[in-house]
């Protein structure tokens, strides 16, 4: 019960200095994680995190809070497994309850082709040591009696990839936890400071940033801005194959717990889970169009609700409480872009599409290593920006697209 009965300071405002060893653009989970691990693993504390809005305002606070590692490629699996490992010890390490809830994660398959894809994922996962397997209808009904297993629907459930370690945890707690850890080790957190330019010297090397509060010198600049990556990269003269798509979700009013698994449907493009607060969290796949408009749409509601009710029809008379939208910086192969950019001392953590939250911990760890050593950690080497020019992609579409 440490810390419960005493007040605690999570963070305070700091004076903005003219120079830092490392400037991290973006106060989301990835940026804060990077700051924390820089301080913890490398003793580098002369670090500033610049956030134009408030901490966790972007994807960190808008995602579906799912963490899992049942990806498709060995590169992806290794990477997300490390993230799960870090997440599992994070509450104790940061002395903040992240409310990690190991509910178990279903990827439901409703067509023969989807069954094939999920079987392949399960088999690959098993070979690489991830607890994940294809299960049939009876086992699904046993594990999740709330699911509609009727054959008399348009897309009857045929099988599921079951990933018992699949969990949810409180997304805000993750970014606040890293922020607290970083702050108490000496990192400066600046909210409401917007980066307006990337400064380079004559040789093209990155030497700092321009901000709404004036220029700041930096030995290393890390961009961890997800949906705003293309803008920040434009400032640095770095081109990325990223497109920005909106992703929407909604919650219902809270009710007593009835669903204890995380449900994702590969064919219906919908996910359903019930939060600790009792709300049903329902979402869909990314919108097909690109935009920087964060307005919610009703067509999203109609599609995702219709599909969610196919899975759990007893939610029919629950009331929607709130819908929202976030940005997804999508890459062609549904894998991230991490590491070197071609501009010396300017590193990128981007391309987080719909899979950024679950990577938060490992991103913090590896980007800190990148920034501290200047060498690309092995775990993120496959995600280098240059892979697109080389056509050496890391195809995760089948495992990442709707399977948040």
């Amino acid at each position: 019960m440490s810390g419960l009965f005493r007040g605690r300071t999570w963070w305070k405002r700091s004076e903005l200095k003219k120079s830092y060893d490392v400037v991290i653009i973006g106060g989301g989970g990835h940026g804060m994680g990077t700051a924390y691990y820089l301080a913890k693993n490398f003793g580098i504390t002369n670090v500033a995190v610049l956030e134009k809005n408030y901490i966790g305002a972007g994807g960190t606070g808008r995602n579906t809070t799912i963490i899992r590692s049942n990806y498709r490629t060995p590169e992806g699996i290794r990477f997300y497994e490390r993230s799960m490992e870090l997440f599992r010890g994070l509450s104790q390490e940061l002395d903040i309850n992240m409310m990690l809830s190991k509910l178990g994660h279903f990827t439901l398959a409703h067509t023969d082709s989807s069954v094939r894809v999920q079987r392949e994922r399960g088999e690959t996962n098993r070979l690489l040591g991830v607890d994940s397997k294809l299960i049939g209808r009876e086992e699904i009904a046993d594990l999740c009696p709330e699911l509609n297993m009727s054959m008399d629907v348009a897309y009857p459930i045929q099988a599921a990839l079951y990933h018992p370690p699949g969990s949810v945890l409180r997304h805000d707690a993750v970014v606040w936890g890293y922020a607290t850890g970083a702050y108490h080790k000496g990192v400066h957190i600046h909210q409401g400071v917007e980066v307006t330019g990337i400064r380079k010297d004559a040789s093209g090397k990155c030497i700092g940033v321009d901000t709404s509060e004036g220029p700041i010198d930096a030995g290393v600049v890390v961009s961890a801005v997800a949906g705003w990556t293309t803008q920040v990269c434009d400032m640095a003269g770095v081109r990325t194959p990223i497109t920005n798509h909106p992703l929407q979700a909604f919650v219902t009013e809270p009710v007593k717990p009835m669903l204890h698994k995380i449900l994702v449907s590969a064919n219906l493009h919908v996910y359903v889970s019930q939060t600790d607060r009792g709300e049903f969290l329902i979402g869909s796949e990314i919108e097909p169009y690109t935009t920087y408009n964060l307005r919610s749409t009703f067509s999203f509601v109609q599609h995702s609700v219709a599909n969610a009710l196919d899975l759990v029809p007893q939610l029919a008379r629950l009331k929607m409480m709130r819908q929202w939208t976030g940005y997804c910086d999508m890459t062609p192969d549904y894998s991230p872009i991490m590491g070197e950019t071609g501009v010396e001392n300017f590193y990128l953590d981007a391309g987080w599409g719909t899979w950024g939250f679950k990577a938060t911990a490992v991103c913090g760890e590896t980007m800190a290593q990148m920034a501290a050593t200047g060498k690309t950690p092995e775990l993120i080497a496959p995600f280098r920006l240059s892979r697109f020019a080389d056509e050496q992609m890391v195809p995760e579409k089948a495992a990442a697209s709707v399977s948040h």
Binding site: N53, E120, M258, D276
Partner: protein
């Protein structure tokens, strides 16, 4: 029961009652228990904003009792209490505030590590309001589209005036309100004006009204969603007048959440509209003139108003009871108000009517962004007089009728907040909680929201958002850099999930003209993209044998079918396809891959040259929709004068395949079908059983085959004729499963099953289908780059020894226990007597003859392309 069944008690219902009114009249004071501390909560806003009267009605959870009409026989229960809301055992939590500091969840249950998984299920059980009835199935509800010139939301005086003005200016008008006009307003000048204007509106034919129709969301379009009984309205106006009124601001003071503390409009509604006495002794807290008007309604209902607490400067000359200048600082009482404290005085009462400043109902307004919206009445100002509100409505109606105009919205400025009490009624967040959270580092409203959960409950900030901003601003006047307002989002009023999907198209299911026939002969259907196709007719092996040994018939009407014509058609297709098209003579056809710019295979099919620069294309069942727009985009990009006509639905297609296919069709056709007149990979216009067909000789299943394309209306006629003529060879219809097996024996790939979004022709051994010496085609540049590198994985055919069990599709390929690839297709080949398949295999192991492990069993990479009839003699027969 004659009345409402309220937790087993029969509660009488009077005409015009809401559930809240009926329950209140019968003596119910505690309507719910609060989310966290299980504090007793009574009626507060009586207008659908606050969470205090959420009850379960006939199994539907979180129904606002104050807005829901009472009906005899309704089953009503209160929520979040055990054993009952009146005597809630969990109210003990209210004594444990010290153990539940703000952010409690983040601070507790961390160590030891095993504690949280044990605590969490208990916390889950504590959360949530109401139980979901497991037997509820979604009802089918209707969606109604409306297209008025002007939509007016809210039928108060401003909304009614706006509707009249807009109609007077010649517009068609729709006027909606979440209740009925005047339903919340006790008699007086405002009610009289509403009644008069409502009558005037009813006399204007250009105005359509819909009452009890809450607006739930405003979206781009503009599209306004409203719920009207069992219908969901999708309203598509040219312009919108938002006259959704205002409400008294939530005032925060010690124990401000006690039952008996009510907003003055709410108390007046109970008294003046429902004839329910809201209390015996009341204090009215008046911060604006309207609050004083409610005294009459309260008095008429038998309430003794003992004192008025009035803001400095408010004209109270007409007040007959005692007037105390100042503010209410506390309420006293255990389960309901017994007294209030104001200006240091304690006054005994059982009702405090809070007539605080009027703030606009800004939720819809803040969703308007750049839409053509005009805001009128209290929604635009702060507590307008009756005359001003009416004038504002008229002006808004005229503006809206004059044409769409953009409206810019600025958020309201925060007001003051007391030092103690509950800011958030949904989540039990107090002023102190917020102050502690601010001290801990959560300065801005957005962070306070996420940390304390203020504004995150069912009211979604309608009650508390303003006071949240006030606390944050008071504590931290220099909150300069971070926005100090939470974002308002849909829905404005709750909408059930089944209401949300009313009339929404769901799961488009496409059928060929032959589905009924397939079903009648035992066909089982499966999805193929948006289509339902026959999986099998009960016996895949028999269907397979019929094709290999005699003759079979398959409905391929789902194929994408396009006619491409126009002056640039040839040039267009030369650039669309990676193979040559220009050299196709009339009567010839060619297999073609379709690639995207990255050189990745996205579809395949055939091109028939019809002559005169016209072409007939087929693509896969799942590809037609996407490729239609894809081709259109390229034609546009290249400026080609070309027509791409999608004939997928208008044409049917059947494939007659097997050694006896020619003999069969010759029985039905006078056209020459022999090998010389109609050879392989040619097409001809022939007549079969009186039906004109475009016939193609193709070889997907590896036998002599004719694919017939014809008007879809002729499908049944042709099917029946072919089945009848084939009887002498025991013809069998065959489904997708048999087709997949047949094609696999030929080594043919299925796009999206055997390919993925990285598959280039080289990786699947189909470089023969690409002519890199062509000038240009979609994907050429990428493929040229691609050729400079080795592929990491290749799609290879493999075989297994007889007697080995066939691995499932999706199985892994391993080498020494390490992942080396994956199986995309696998079948036991009846002809060869052993399993065969296709698999992606790492380049190092992909050479012909290599030994690999497939699904745990030994297999060999096959050296050829086709497992069956490698020379293709059968299909050329």
């Amino acid at each position: 029961m004659a009345g409402i069944d309220f937790e087993g008690t029969d509660v009488p219902v009077q005409q015009g009652d809401t559930i809240a009114a009926a329950l209140y009249r019968s003596g119910t004071r505690i309507f719910s228990r609060s989310f966290k501390y299980h504090r007793p909560r009574g009626l507060y806003c009586v207008s659908g904003d606050c969470p205090n009267c959420l009850v379960t009605v006939d199994g539907e959870v979180n129904v606002r009792a104050c807005e829901c009409a009472a009906r005899a026989g309704q089953k009503v229960t209160r929520q979040n209490a055990w054993p009952s809301a009146d005597r809630d055992a969990l109210a003990v939590i209210d004594k444990l505030h010290w153990a539940l500091p703000v952010g409690f969840y983040y601070k507790a249950g961390i160590k030891p590590k095993f504690a949280w998984p044990m605590v969490e299920p208990m916390i889950r059980k504590m959360a949530g309001l109401g139980f979901v009835d497991h037997h509820d199935a979604p009802r089918h509800l209707e969606r109604v589209n409306w297209h008025p010139d002007v939509l007016v939301v809210g039928a108060g005086v401003a909304g009614l005036e706006a509707a009249l003005a807009a109609a007077g200016a010649g517009s068609t008008v729709m006027l909606i309100d979440e209740t009925t006009p005047g339903a919340r307003v006790a008699s007086g000048p405002t009610r009289a004006a509403i009644d008069r204007l409502t009558a005037a509106v009813a006399a204007v034919p250009a105005i359509t009204t819909s009452w009890n129709t809450p607006a739930t969301g405003l979206f781009e379009g503009p599209l306004l969603i409203a719920v009207s009984g069992d219908e969901t309205f999708h309203i598509h106006p040219q312009a919108i007048v938002l006259a959704c009124g205002g409400r008294e601001i939530h005032r925060v003071f010690t124990d401000n959440d006690l039952p008996g503390v009510m907003l003055a409009r709410g108390a007046a509604r109970l008294a003046g509209v429902h004839g329910v006495r809201p209390g015996a002794r009341a204090v009215v807290w008046a911060e604006q003139p309207e609050a004083l008007e409610h005294i009459a309604a309260l008095t008429a209902a038998g309430v003794e108003v003992v004192a008025v607490v009035a803001a400095e400067g408010l004209d109270t000359s007409a007040v007959t009871c005692e007037v105390i200048r100042g503010e209410v600082t506390a309420a006293k009482g255990r389960k309901r108000v017994s007294a209030i404290v104001a200006a240091g005085r304690t006054i005994a009462c059982d009702l405090l009517a809070v007539g605080s400043e009027i703030q606009p109902n800004e939720h819809l307004v803040r969703l308007a962004y750049d839409l053509p919206v005009v805001v009128a009445g209290d929604a635009a100002g702060h507590g307008l007089t009756l005359d001003d509100a009416m004038a504002s409505g008229r002006a808004a109606g005229e503006r809206a009728a004059a044409g769409p105009e953009l409206y810019a919205v600025s958020p309201a400025t925060p007001r003051t907040c007391g030092a103690n009490g509950y800011v958030c009624l949904c989540e039990d967040v107090s002023v102190k909680d917020l102050e502690v959270a601010i001290d801990e580092g959560f300065e801005s409203a957005e962070l306070l929201k996420r940390y304390t959960t203020v504004t995150m409950g069912p009211c979604q900030g309608r009650v508390c958002a303003d006071q949240l901003r006030a606390v944050a601003a008071r504590k931290n006047p220099d909150l300069h850099r971070v926005a100090n307002a939470t974002t308002l989002r849909p829905p404005v009023r709750p909408i059930t999930l089944e209401q949300a999907i009313a009339g929404a198209p769901h799961h488009m299911e496409r059928h060929t003209a032959l589905t009924a026939k397939h079903l009648s002969i035992g066909g089982t259907m499966m999805w193929a993209g948006p289509w339902k196709r026959v999986e099998a007719y009960g016996d895949v092996q028999a269907e397979y044998r019929a094709v290999r040994e005699r003759v079979g018939l398959i409905d391929v009407g789902t194929l994408g079918k396009f006619l491409v014509a126009g002056p640039d058609a040839t040039e267009f297709l030369e650039r669309i396809y990676p193979m040559r098209v220009a050299d196709l003579e009339a009567g010839r056809l060619r297999y073609g891959l379709l690639l995207e710019e990255g050189g990745v295979i996205i579809d395949d099919g055939t091109v028939c040259a019809l002559g005169d620069g016209r072409y007939y294309l087929t693509v896969t069942t799942t590809g037609a929709e996407r490729l239609e727009s894809w081709m259109g985009d390229w034609a546009e990009a290249w400026g080609h004068d070309v027509y791409v006509v999608n004939q997928t639905a208008s044409l049917g297609a059947l494939n007659v395949a097997g050694p006896q296919a020619r003999a069969l069709l010759q029985k039905l056709s006078d056209d020459p079908l022999d090998r010389e007149s109609f050879p392989y990979i040619r097409h001809r216009q022939i007549t079969v059983a009186g039906v004109e067909c475009l016939a193609m000789r193709l070889g997907f299943v590896g036998e002599l085959a004719y694919e017939l394309h014809f008007p879809a209306s002729q499908s049944a006629k042709l099917w029946d004729a072919i089945i009848a003529a084939g009887a002498e060879w025991d013809i069998r219809p065959f489904g997708l499963m048999a087709q997949r097996l047949l094609r696999l024996e030929k080594g043919h790939i299925i796009i999206a099953q055997d390919t993925d979004f990285e598959t280039t022709p080289w990786k699947v051994g189909m470089q023969w289908a690409v002519k890199l010496d062509k000038d240009d085609f979609v994907g050429k540049a990428a493929l040229e780059r691609h050729l400079k590198r080795d592929d990491r994985e290749l799609l290879v055919p493999w075989t297994m020894g007889a007697g080995t069990a066939c691995p499932p599709e999706g199985a892994t390929v391993t080498m020494n226990g390490n992942l080396a690839g994956r199986v995309t297709s696998a079948w036991h080949s009846p002809t060869l007597g052993h399993p065969i398949g296709l698999a992606w295999v790492k380049r190092a192991y992909a050479a012909a003859g290599s030994s690999i492990t497939v699904g745990g069993s030994p297999a060999t990479v096959f050296s050829g392309h086709a497992f069956y009839d490698p020379e293709g003699e059968k299909l050329r027969a």
